[in-house]
């Protein structure tokens, strides 16, 4: 029995884990930046290029999602599948919307948007303090929403892994795949995380 239909495509898995690391880092970096005096500048010089990298990856990922259907989510009830699909759409939406909001916010504030010494981005919104203010507040709200969505996603997968123990996480893992349990066998009930 082949493993391929039960797992996400290789590109999907790479994109998922690379973005997971970048997005979690960015969320923590973002809240730490606005709360810091000493580290504000250093964190800002990381936050802006990292945000742009996430935007590019999010667009690539949506393209990849269209090209590669996810594996069937065996064992999920229709309602669960709806929630899963809905939260996937929400996360994709936020991963695009949040960096675009940051970019537009800097544009409306009249700031130069330098990613590196050589590369800077053009303004995508007119310079306007009221617009800046709305976008600045949106960036905070969307950031918290993204964190909440990430936390819900994390809790859901942890619930599947540790409580339901349905090995749904295996669809996204990178290592050699353990074959799904076909014939249930009698085993001890020891709780194992690994």
């Amino acid at each position: 029995m082949s493993d391929s239909p039960t797992r996400y495509a290789f590109t999907s898995r790479v994109l998922h884990w690379v973005m997971a690391i970048l997005v979690i880092a960015q969320l923590f970096l973002g809240v730490a930046m606005v709360a810091s005096l000493d580290a504000y500048h250093l964190l800002r010089t990381v936050h802006q290029p990292l945000g742009f990298a996430i935007l590019v990856l999010a667009v690539v990922r949506i393209g990849n999602r269209v090209l590669h259907r996810p594996p069937p989510s065996a064992g999920m009830r229709p309602a669960e599948r709806m929630v899963a699909t809905g939260s996937e759409c929400l996360l994709y939406g936020l991963l695009v919307l949040q960096p675009v909001t940051g970019w537009a916010m800097l544009s409306a504030g009249g700031f130069p948007i330098a990613l590196t010494a050589q590369l800077s981005l053009p303004a995508i919104a007119p310079r306007d303090p009221d617009l800046y203010s709305v976008l600045r507040q949106s960036h905070t709200v969307l950031g918290y929403l993204l964190f909440a969505a990430f936390t819900a996603h994390l809790c859901a997968i942890l619930f599947h892994t540790f409580v339901l123990r349905d090995r749904i996480l295996g669809r996204m893992t990178m290592g050699r795949r353990h074959r799904p349990a076909q014939p249930p066998q009698r085993q001890d009930q020891e709780f194992r995380v690994s």
């Binding site: 730490a32 606005v34 303090p129 709305v134 964190f147 349990a181 001890d188 009930q189 020891e190």
Partner: protein, 373 residues
Amino acid sequence: MPRRGDGHEPSVGGRSGASVTRRSALIGLAAVGAIAAVDVGGFLFAGGRLTPHTVTPSRFVDRFEQVFGRHEGFRRNHAKGVSATGWFTPTGAGSAVSTASVFRAGGRHPVTGRFSLSGGLPDAVDAADTVRGLGLVFRLPEGEQWRTAMIDSPVFPDRTPDGFRDRLLASKKIPDTGKPEPAAMASFLARHPETAAAMDIIRRQPRTSGFGDSTFHGLNAFRCADRSGATVPVRWKLVPEQPVRHPGAEEASGRDYLFDALVRDVTRGPLRWRMILTIGEAGDPTDDATRPWPADRKSLDVGTLTVDAIDTEAPDNARDVNFDPLVLPNGIAPSDDPLLSARSAVYAESFNRRSGEPKSPSRVNVSEVPDER
């Protein structure tokens, strides 16, 4: 590998061949809860929510509002000001230490500026001993910008952000006397000898008659990098070409007399300042804006700032510019001065607050400046 329950404990609905018992479900839930708690707790901690006594940019700006009151739509510090426009013409001398395009010979870069008085009152009465500020944004080729916020003191009174924040409170004016509590300032200075020393230096520099004959200092050290990548510490100042006058105490008069004089000066003709870049040597403090560098340090005359128009603050001019001292062009980089990042963070918070607030007209209206007395 976990398997379906063997009957000793009731199964509670495992799927896809996993074994789930009440015990395993509880342990699993605990694991989920613990990881979620670390996740949410870490996020709140990173955002400063669990450490209410740490000074954040927001709490720093709160201090300005505590001392000066909250004045919607205005900067929390240097609230009273006017917009200025002009240009910068480099001499080319700066290219010896920096690759920055702003220093390259032959350029002429548009500049938006803002003359201001320190303090959070947008309608403060002009006074000779109030610190004068000049913020500038140079618009450079290829979308680059250089922003700097300078004052007319040769050194800054505070070495650290915390010192500045404490000094604000110590210098808060008491409504009855209109002066700060003497004991509060004395106690502050006893705890901050660097501020006492800096204030001595500032006091020794005689006040000039107005904005036009003030020397404006960038205060913090920065690092310039030349084509070979070699860096030197620098500080900059703008030295007026206008003749400098040191008025007696009796000359000061009128609620807006400093701004009115600036407007009249520019009506008569452009004002000019030479930009002097001072090159630090090994051992010169780059992380302490309270200490001057030795007077014999090499300096470069890197160009001339010309101001040819003063305007009432309005949406399309300096009013909505955040003069963040860390918006720098390639070729100029921050030093290790802790004030720089803190200034950047606090200016951003002030900008965030005022941007969304309703705006009222600025105190200084250029079209209403009275004619020569």
